[in-house]
């Protein structure tokens, strides 16, 4: 049995990871590191899902994390393909260098 205070601890950890991911996404200028920060936000969401699922004895929380993994994998594949394409065109990973995508 899990107490609500323990649940609060897990939720705070997940919130901290989410916040660090948001700050990193805003601060970093390297495109690949920005996408890594979105993965960090996914981690925070996954901890919240699993802690809630454990508290309520509902396994839907863990199923949601499976879907998070799916979306993260799809996002990584697409985002990295885009980054490779942009790096080929601009020879840089600076997000500001791509603020204008028009030719």
């Amino acid at each position: 049995m899990m107490t609500s205070s323990a649940l609060a601890g897990y939720l705070i950890v997940s919130g901290l990871l989410l916040v660090i991911g948001v700050v990193g996404f805003l601060v970093r200028r390297n495109l690949i590191v920005m996408f890594l920060c979105t993965e960090l936000m996914f981690q925070g969401a996954a901890i919240a899902f699993i802690a809630m699922g454990r508290y309520l004895f509902d396994y839907s929380g863990q199923v949601m994390v499976i879907f998070i993994l799916t979306v993260a994998a799809a996002e990584a594949a697409l985002a990295l393909a885009l980054v490779v394409l942009m790096h080929r065109q601009g020879d840089s990973l600076d997000a500001d260098a791509f603020s204008e995508l028009t030719e």
Binding site: M1, L7, A8, L16, Y55, A72, A81, L85
Partner: protein
Amino acid sequence: MDISCPFLRFILDSQLKKTHTHYMDMFLPYIACLTFALALYAALRPSPITVRVGMIAVAVAAAGWLLGLVAGSLSVFADASQGVFFVIFSLCAIASALRMITHDQPIYSALFFVLVVIATAGLFVLLEAEFMAFALVIVYAGAILITYMFVLMLANQATSQDEPDTQAAYDRIPREPAAAVAVGFLLLCLISGTVIKGTDISIPGNLPAPGNPQAQWATLEHLSVQFEREVAELDPDFAWPPVSDEAGNSIHIEGTEVFIIAEDGSTLMLPDSMLPRNTQQVGWSLVNDFPVSLELAGVILLMAMFGAAIIARRAIELGEQEKRRVLLGEVSKSEDLS
């Protein structure tokens, strides 16, 4: 004091109560959030490595303080070792996440993210989600992060440790750290305030009571082959199938005792070791509760694969001469075949 408006009175009452009991306690979590944000800001700015690591240590300490304020003590966990491991894993995850967003070199950022994933997997094990813990390590640390590493090594020019100036400027200089940390601070205050209020079970209707672990027995009834085999192992003389009640449940739960009843009236107690494992529960929930989402996940993965292949394909420019040669080559090949 007579106040006619009930809403006003409610606010005043709660304010008075707070001032008398723990006026300062209300603000302590937000002070922890502020400390965290200030240390994060100092760690983000370009400065010597020792300053950065020191500031990250301060931020981790503030995060630990916030955790302590919210969760209370280690005794809220099922046993003391679980609390200790929770503190270790969560602080490890937060510290490596901070180092990840402050490190100059993207490769090291990716490696610190692997550490975050492993610490998160440790938290999942504490939450009795073993399957997700291993899936996380295999899929995230094993597959997704390797893809990131590949692209980083493909795109990044090599830099040496001795000459930090060779690192690209966009990796060394952060973009608007003050604004970003302000956003993060507000978000963190919002989250911690919501968590503190939301998990306070003394407020009625706030959070449902902890779930009943005995609800897990319902899954065993759906796994009929396993159910029958385990009952046969437990008691070979049991007359299968057991009697079910009006709702169709054959497993009866009274207090802590779980039993099934045979046709002839004999009962059989079921030990806790017969409960379906975590992986079985997750698999059952996945195919039973979310069948459409499961199919959609497959479609998303397929589309991502097509999309990545099409986006990253290198278009080859062919001149007129090359085109003609290719066409002629095709023609001559088909002639050879005939």
